[in-house]
Amino acid sequence: MDFLWKKVSEKEKEEIQKKAKTMMDSFSKRLSKIDKNIKAPLIERGIGEREESIEESNDDFSRKIMFENAQNKNKDFVIAEKGGWREE
């Protein structure tokens, strides 16, 4: 297969999903040979706190772009409608 971008059909998606799962299964199988007696925590956690500050991006320009990015909008709010972006 080549890796160039192309539009993917529903049938191709099913095939991709199946093959991806098979590959992940084979990766998992190969990883199963490693020593699993690891006692230390697997995820490093910091304090996880931060000082909140006033967002400088809350300006008129950012607001304008936010409305430009929205698929559906009214005068001063964004309409988050499922599938709203689809072409008729």
Binding site: M1, D2, F3, L4, W5, K6, K7, V8, E12, K13, I16, Q17, K19, A20, K21, M23, M24, F27, S28, R30, L31, S32, I34, D35, K36, I38, A40, L42, I43, G46, G48, E49, R50, E51, E52, S53, S57, F61, S62, R63, I65, M66, E68, N69, A70, Q71, V78, A80, E81, K82, G83, G84, W85, R86
Partner: protein, 441 residues
Amino acid sequence: MKTVDKLKKYLVEIKKNDQNGKKINAFLQLNPDVLKEARIIDEKIKKGKAGKLAGQIIAIKANINVKGLNASCASKVLENYKAPYDATVIQKIKKEDGVIIGIANCDEFASGSSGETSAFGPTKNPIVLNYVPGGSSSGSAAAVAAGFCDMALGSDTGCSIRLPASFCGVVGIKPTYSSVSRYGLIDLSMSLDQIGPLAKNVSDSSLLLSVIMGKDEKDSTSQEDKKINLNEVEKTPKDITIGVLDFVIKDKNIQKLIDEKVEEVIQKYGWKIKKIKIGNIDLAVETYYPMVYVEFFSGTRKFDGRRYGKKIEDAAGPEVLRRILGGSEITKAEYGGRYYHNSLIAKKIFSDELAKAFKKVDCIVSPVTPKLPHKIGEKISVEDMYAYDALTIPHNLYGNCALSLPIGKIDGIPVGIQIACDKFQEQRMLQISMAFEKLNS
């Protein structure tokens, strides 16, 4: 030379060879205000009030938010998405008077190692036009190599700065995880992603790195550490022990180039050498990809077609879908701890092994990648594509810093050496890399 004059030269070259001529396809968008911004910087230089990056022309990967420009991630999903704010790295670049020339092409959502998966067409390798430039920061590396800009920003999750840097013959740095803020980076895999610089030489990439590093309250994983001293970077360090990675690659020509360069550096500077074995390194790819699939699946749930852009499952290309659909499958099956949990265990083992190794040596060198690039559009298996990352991934899993430096060519194709140091040892890594670079000149 004035910033404006240099910029104009770059714009002429871009016009000549990006969408015309050689058709490199490195840029997705040029900054419409770039000339105006360059004139302002020249005024500041004239008044002696300019920042560290004054006069530098910089390209930005399409997954980093630059206010008012498209942050499309080279995808139809976000094709018309305009960034409403600046990423922290962009704020820092602007504060130091860097000029952003435009948005660089990349693999779609940074999902790729070749630069072919962009929805807006593959990027060509400016050095060998029919070969891939490497990915995912393909446009960033190609823009620097093609002479379209001075430097660029990319992001590196498993290889994405170092691999394209190697294939395009430029310098690329993956900084220590958490040393550069990820705020404003559209993520591929949040526990591994890191923003970093690409440039023509170690000196320029050090300059850009020194600007973007540092703690940021908007990225709670970010940390403050020693600042890079650019004067110190120029000095060749003494008493260095180079660790040479004990890993057999099939392409003997690549290994020969690396061995020759290490021998040369040892002879010239009187450094020592030690073989370094990293246990289970042959399982790096198998450890990394389940993590990426799961984290990417999780991170892309926001692209549901309601708030912005299109639904990712409906508008993405094959490689992005492979990761999302595969990630969905193994997330559902994770209750047995077979996938993500296994990867976390292996990641911990890699981290312990590398931490131990860095106690014995100052740096670990290896090829950036075990093989040369394929031709654009050439058919290869998914496993072969993922194998490009085999030697870069371990440093993402541990989170240390690593750099790709050009050391020669095989059949006209650039080859890079990877120089990796322990976490927050960027200064030492840059010094060692510059010593290697001096051999080339």
